[in-house]
């Protein structure tokens, strides 16, 4: 448990150091994710007989965090109470922009994915 939390925070910290140190446009936690992914891949290649990640504390902590991912957005979401002035001033335009753009993005992304997958899935 302790080690699992240390691994997650350590990867994030390392990611943050790399992002800021090298002035990358990528946020620290995303680099941290890439680092942890690389480490997990390396571990699986070097010690194929090692226990599957899902059975380890790291797998359990990750599953717990991701199962409650929605909760983590609640504090930022509650910030809406500070934005009432802007939302009243530009309400209709913003609502239509958010609804329209989100629907359009969902449709375009899914259709492009399926169209390209149809060509590439058949290849051996």
């Amino acid at each position: 448990m302790l080690h699992a939390i240390l691994i997650l925070l350590g990867c994030q910290l390392l990611g943050e150091v790399l992002a800021r140190g090298l002035g990358l446009p990528v946020p620290g936690p995303v680099i941290g994710m890439a680092l942890l992914f690389a480490a997990l891949q390396l571990r699986a290649r070097l010690t194929p007989e090692a226990a599957e990640i899902g059975t380890l504390p790291l797998g359990a902590v990750a599953a717990f965090l991701l199962a409650n991912l929605s909760l983590l957005f609640v504090p930022a979401g509650t910030g809406i109470i500070r934005q009432t002035a802007v939302l009243t001033a530009h309400g209709p335009g913003l609502v239509i922009a958010l609804v329209g753009s989100t629907a359009l993005t969902l449709i375009v992304t899914a259709l492009v994915f399926v169209a390209v997958a149809r060509r590439t899935d058949r290849k051996p």
């Binding site: 936690p29 990640i53 991912l69 913003l94």
Partner: protein, 238 residues
């Protein structure tokens, strides 16, 4: 016994109270979502935010006081993003075969998200700072706020637009994809990750682990790509 008014003055200013309130509001919201059979309309983030916003307004508590308690939950967004590496690793065999559709859909989706949002709001006469705040609305809060700051937006407004987009996508994705007859969970997950970052990813994990994994990849990649393209697109209207 202490005067209840004085007890409230103590509680209302304490991080413990607002942290507990955040977890309690979410527990209620998640219970309702479960009772509704995870119907997308009963979105746990939306319900929890409405409950807390009502409580803060009624008690006239400033957001800053609230956030002193809630920051402990907010902080976990970082480690949770790192934790996405675990499902990515476990499903790597599936992901590796889909790299071409992933990158094609990422490019199309990221561009659509920024151009359509800015275009529609511009047509409605929104001022430049609102457009700049809106441009990164499909990427996860921390990244979006950084982009917004950089291109002349208001990061606090961006945070609100980001969460709203997340909730909207999480609500829309299932009925929309069903109406389109789209059954590929890789595509469904990836789409909601591009359009609606972590809240969409949370929804995808609720529905299917493969959808969740693809949403997680989309969230990471779109954060990166939007940071690169949003300044260019917003430059066209400056």
């Amino acid at each position: 016994m202490t005067d209840p008014a004085r007890l409230w003055v103590f509680l209302a200013a304490s991080p413990l109270f607002w942290l507990t309130a955040t977890l309690a509001a979410y527990a209620v919201a998640d219970w309702l979502s479960q009772r509704a059979d995870r119907n997308p309309l009963v979105n746990p983030v939306l319900i929890a935010v409405l409950l807390l916003a009502a409580l803060l307004t009624l008690t006239r508590t400033p957001y800053e006081t609230y956030f002193e308690g809630a920051q402990f939950v907010h902080f976990l967004l970082g480690p949770a993003t790192v934790a996405l590496a675990v499902p990515l690793h476990r499903n790597w065999a599936t992901v590796r075969k889909a790299l071409a559709p992933i990158f094609a859909a990422l490019l199309a989706g990221a561009a659509t998200a920024v151009v359509s949002a800015v275009g529609i709001a511009w047509a409605f006469g929104a001022p430049f700072d609102v457009l700049a705040s809106l441009a990164p609305k499909s990427v996860t809060a921390a990244i979006a706020m950084g982009i917004s700051q950089e291109i002349g937006g208001n990061p606090a407004l961006t945070a609100t637009l980001v969460i709203s987009t997340g909730v909207l996508g999480a609500i829309m994705v299932t009925p929309l994809m069903n109406a389109m007859g789209l059954t590929d969970y890789r595509a469904r997950g990836f789409a909601v990750g591009v359009a609606s970052h972590g809240i969409g990813t949370a929804r995808a994990f609720q529905v299917d682990p493969v959808a969740g994994t693809f949403a997680g990849i989309a969230l990471g990649l779109n954060g990166l790509l939007t940071a690169l393209i949003a300044p260019v697109i917003i430059g066209w209207i400056r």
